[in-house]
């Protein structure tokens, strides 16, 4: 860890001066600073900013028409508090409960979670080439241990997964993020916020210099009341997903009316599956129909040396999540 300056702004205006790296729970930032992966000279502890609250959306910093129909979660809310909040849709709650450990969830924030960095071991080891950490140095994972890496949205420059479980659930539920920078506030769908690596893996999101995440809004949370999150991993807690699926399903008279689905652990960004959603609509809510639709999920997947199993595993995880919702369906 290098020496750094730290301040603790108390107003949003002071925080967004573009010179500081934000410190929320610190569970990503401090970890990566200890490893010398991140070496910010100036850090702003944002915990005193008024970015709390879980409740009905009142419009926030910009009104996009969803005001009053959304659930707003302040960026500084802790993962553990959100996981326990009754107004939060089940997919989000489960994604949070299955993340990290209770101790980490007590520290870590929603804003920080969405901006956590990849768990690729080469990214975390400064002695190894890594395009994401040091653009142009090469990607060690391509020829290295890539069992945990992505099969969707990859490029020759980077194959790292986006590690957040929460982001997968939020992308499935069409959530938006609200941002404030020195030139004002804006709102963007979370699905558009993340960037696949292409030839610039160092750019992971559309976040502008100095911009602060203030809130996350889940539109029409009542439509996600019938949702779930299934996470598959090598051990039963305290591990990132090998594969995960967030799904919200609307079944009437045994027929799928609507489905919203995203996958984690398999993509370079939280991976929305519009093709699967389309393939499900109008189909019976049965295992064979789910399995047929799941085939669409892995079209175009590009497995690496050690992660080919993620292709069938994604299809199986999808079927499991959909069956859970269909069997639990009261409609």
């Amino acid at each position: 860890m290098r020496q750094f300056d730290i301040t603790a702004p108390t107003t949003i205006d002071d925080a967004v001066d573009g010179r500081h790296t934000f410190l929320a729970g610190g569970t990503t930032l401090v970890d990566l600073m200890k490893l010398d992966v991140l070496t910010p000279p100036r850090v702003a502890d944002i915990n005193a900013l008024p970015l709390r609250g879980i409740g009905a959306d009142e419009g926030g910093h910009s009104d996009n028409g969803n005001a009053g129909h959304g659930l707003r979660i302040g960026a500084l809310e802790r993962m553990s508090d959100v996981a326990e909040h009754p107004d939060v849709p089940p997919a989000v709650r489960r994604a949070l409960t299955l993340s990290a450990s209770q101790q980490l969830r007590n520290m870590a924030t929603i804003g920080g979670n969405l901006l956590q960095r990849t768990r690729c071991g080469y990214f975390r080891d400064t002695t190894m080439p890594c395009n994401k950490r040091t653009p142009g140095s090469g990607c060690s994972a391509l020829g290295g241990n890539n069992r945990g890496h992505a099969v969707l949205g990859t490029s020759d420059h980077c194959v790292a997964t986006h590690a957040s479980d929460l982001a997968v659930a939020l992308v499935a539920l069409d959530a938006e993020v609200r941002l404030v920078g020195s030139d004002g506030a804006r709102t963007t769908p979370l699905a558009d916020f993340y960037r696949t690596p292409g030839d610039t893996p160092e750019i992971e999101t559309g976040l502008r210099d100095g911009e602060l995440t203030t809130d996350v809004v889940v539109p029409h949370p009542e439509r996600a009341a019938h949702s779930t999150y299934v996470k598959v991993r090598d051990r039963q807690s305290y591990e990132f997903a090998l594969c995960s699926v967030a799904a919200s399903l609307d079944v009437r008279d045994g027929v799928v009316v609507d489905a919203r689905i995203a996958a984690g652990g398999v993509g370079t960004i939280p991976w929305r599956l519009p093709g699967v959603e389309a393939a499900l609509r109008g189909e019976p809510a049965t295992e064979s129909a789910f399995a047929a639709a799941a085939e669409v999920a892995t079209h175009g997947a590009t497995p690496l040396t050690h992660n080919g199993f993620k292709v069938p595993l994604l299809r199986r995880t999808l079927v499991r999540a959909l069956l859970e919702l269909a069997e639990g369906s009261t409609r």
Partner: protein, 728 residues
């Protein structure tokens, strides 16, 4: 049941581990590790390191810290860091930076500019098989290969050929790191020609002698303390921080502290090697074993060193068979060195053998428990020395009843979306003793010390000293103060080979009876309170046999009456004649139930039971802890743990987020049962070792349960989701 004497300190955070010691003026050392797997150091530019704030000294192979050759009692000729420019593996210590603070040392170390003459590294086990060489199995005098054939049988192949049923399969186990909670660390203090070293280790008296050689001072000028040790598991016979901090403390004439970071623990220590084992079993239709062939390969360094004795540790002894052939080979690679880890040989060896026995049971169509009992040995095959006390049959009978084994069906059963299966395996660990000396000191306040150098890295030895001491002196336990973890105490109680209880326990008995004799003699001596009487000792008191009207006296009374504050004796025991009369081993039956999701294929261990025959159980509470801990580690080896190397020899998972160990959610209630048959042929104490046997057989029981649940036989550890996806 006796609580751990050190439990209150540990659970309140007051136990003083090596690094918790604070001394005035201590400097801090930080290790620099190699980033290539093979070659020679071309140069190390440390100008910037030296110029960094607070730096006191920078040691490299170009400017080494003087270390002298060490011939260690436990490890033989030891490799010493920074003495030569060869790089033998990725993550090898190549530098040591000492600064005023830890942060200064760490930050300065990052500035070292290292250049290598790199050479191609061999790091792949499968590629290395072609260069395998015959190798002496670790801790054994046996030749690499050994064959026992029945009269008239020409070869093991012939015996297999002649069997009604045969199976032949190859199994693989992953390399593992001990990953003890307390990383290897030390504080070395050099003062007035004496070196005091606080460092977690398994035998302070032996480490003191190694360090004395390394820094070239007389052995009685070195004092090693390890009153508490945060886990060892075979991996703390030596440590780089202790060697480097000691040498630097002498060189700089200043106390020096050093510790490995968690990442460094994975390479700058030594690991359990990866193994590959081919097993062929031949049996008659009734299950009787005709032939066992077990060939083993262990990864090693190019110097060979430690070889995981998988065939010698299992098939050599476990079952009755008419014909046996075992072999051991080393596959030299440019990987970190290997060493002892809990049940070396038996743990990975039992995965192969006990999976193979399960495969044979299936091939014959016989119950796996019945097949094991059918071949229950009364002595190792081809040897005359019968097992001193073996009750494996009882372990299986109790275990099967308790576990509901009779409900197992060959294809497993289904519970909703979960496929449920049961598996079993035999566990065995040899019954050993090491020489040990224990001192018993009676005090005039009526308390007694029971002391040996040793170590209690969580194993429970401290409680054993208290229990056996109290029993031998016939006093309540709260009057006995157990002491260990200090090289100046009588030499004994080393933590290794599952020997400490039987060794230090029987030495305690000898020491106690000697001190009682002295006490009795003192009481009836000219200066004694019972002068002229015939004196006896019972219930912690001395009394006159010929004057029953006189009040019995405690030993404290006797000491006070004679104006003494203490009376001491030592007792020494060592393995002796018994080894020429019997074979010794602890035995166990492991049972496991798993649930595998029919779609996503996660394996969850839902029940675990181990029934163990380990002689007399001195302290059921810590015994259960040892065995349950071992069983959990077995689950870890089965489903989670494994060192992986990149092609260039870099270890790819080196922290506790990535190097997977089971968490609480992965472990069900662990049921541990004992059949208690004291083994007084091994020692008067009747206890045999149980520190290592808990892990043995568990991985096979898990794999056998997975097979029962899914029909899929996985012959490589750890078993992972991808192994169970038929379409993967």
């Amino acid at each position: 049941m006796t609580a751990r004497p050190d439990a209150p300190l540990k659970v309140t955070g007051r136990a003083t581990y090596a690094l918790d010691n604070v001394v005035e003026g201590a400097a801090h050392g930080y290790l620099v590790l190699s980033t290539v797997a093979r070659g020679e150091l071309a140069s190390m530019d440390v100008e910037a390191v030296r110029a960094a704030p607070g730096v006191l000294a920078v040691y490299t192979p170009f400017e080494p810290l003087p270390l002298h050759p060490v011939n260690s009692a436990l490890l033989g000729r030891m490799w010493l860091p920074l003495q030569d420019k060869d790089v033998r593996y990725h993550g090898q210590p190549i530098g040591f930076v000492v600064a005023e603070t830890f942060e200064q040392a760490r930050d300065a170390a990052a500035l070292a500019d290292v250049a290598y003459h790199e050479r191609p590294a061999a790091t792949s086990f499968s590629d290395g098989l072609t260069s395998a060489v015959d190798a002496q199995p670790a801790a054994s005098e046996a030749p690499p290969s050994l064959t026992v054939l029945a009269d008239g049988v020409a070869s093991i192949e012939d015996a297999l050929e002649a069997s009604d049923v045969t199976i032949d399969a190859t199994y693989e186990t992953a390399a593992q790191n001990h990953a003890a909670m307390e990383p290897h660390s030390a504080l070395a203090v050099w003062s007035g020609g004496e070196l005091t070293v606080y460092a977690g280790n398994q035998a302070p008296h032996l480490v003191a002698s190694d360090l004395a050689s390394a820094v070239d001072v007389p052995v009685d000028a070195v004092h090693v303390e390890n009153p508490v040790v945060g886990g060892a598991f075979g991996g703390k016979a030596t440590s780089m921080p202790a060697l480097l901090a000691s040498a630097a403390a002498v060189a700089l004439d200043r106390p020096v502290k050093a510790a490995l970071t968690r990442e460094q623990v994975f390479t700058a220590t030594a690991n359990r090697p990866a193994t590959r084992q081919r097993i062929a079993l031949g049996a008659r239709r009734d299950g009787g074993l005709v032939a066992v062939r077990h060939d083993s390969w262990s990864t090693t360094t190019r110097e060979i060193g430690f070889v995981e004795p998988t065939s010698h540790g299992t098939s050599r002894e476990w079952y009755t068979t008419e014909n046996l052939a075992i072999s051991q080979k080393a596959v030299p690679l440019d990987v970190p060195p290997a060493t002892f880890m809990r049940a070396p040989g038996e743990a990975p060896g039992s995965f192969a053998l006990e999976s193979a026995v399960d495969e044979l049971a299936e091939a014959i169509g016989m119950d796996p428990v019945a097949l094991r009992l059918r071949n229950n040995s009364t002595a190792p095959p081809g040897e005359d020395l019968q097992w001193s006390s073996k009750h494996l049959d009882e372990c299986f009978e109790i275990g099967a009843a308790r576990f509901g084994w009779a409900d197992r069906t060959p294809g497993g059963r289904r519970d909703g979306d979960w496929l449920v299966g049961m598996g079993t395996a035999t566990a065995m660990f040899p019954g050993l003793r090491f020489p040990a000396t224990v001192g018993v000191t009676l005090h005039d306040d009526g308390t007694a010390d029971v002391a040996t150098a040793g170590a209690d890295p969580g194993t429970g030895l401290l409680g054993v000293l208290r229990i056996v001491g109290a029993e031998s002196l016939d006093v309540p336990q709260d009057r006995v103060v157990p002491r260990l973890g200090d090289s100046r105490l009588p030499p004994g109680g080393l933590s290794g080979g599952s020997t400490a209880t039987a060794s230090a326990g029987s030495a305690t008995m000898v020491a106690a009876s000697t001190v009682i004799e002295q006490l009795v003699a003192l009481a009836s001596s000219e200066e004694g309170p019972l002068r002229g009487h015939d004196v006896g000792y019972a219930h912690g008191t001395v009394y006159a046999l010929d004057a029953p009207e006189r009040d019995p006296m405690t030993f404290g009374d006797v000491l006070r009456a004679t104006g003494r504050s203490t009376l001491s004796a030592t007792g020494t025991t060592a393995p002796g004649e018994e080894t020429t009369k019997h074979s010794f081993g602890s035995w166990g039956a492991q049972f496991c139930e798993v649930r595998v999701h029919r779609l996503t294929r996660e394996v969850r261990v839902s029940r675990l039971l181990g029934v163990f025959d380990a002689g007399r159980i001195i302290n059921p509470r810590t015994a259960r802890g040892q065995l349950a801990g071992g069983m959990i580690w077995g689950v870890s080896a089965a489903l989670h743990e494994g060192i992986e190397f990149d092609d260039d020899g870099r270890m790819s998972r080196r922290d506790l987020a990535d190097y997977l160990l089971p968490v609480n959610a992965d472990i069900p209630d662990v049921d541990v049962q004992f059949v208690e048959h004291p083994d007084t042929l091994l020692s008067d104490l009747g206890a045999r070792g149980l520190g290592e046997i808990g892990i043995v057989g568990v991985a096979a029981a898990v794999a056998n349960a997975v097979h029962n649940a899914t029909g899929i036989r996985v012959r490589r550890l750890p078993i992972r989701i991808e192994d169970l996806l038929e379409d993967g």
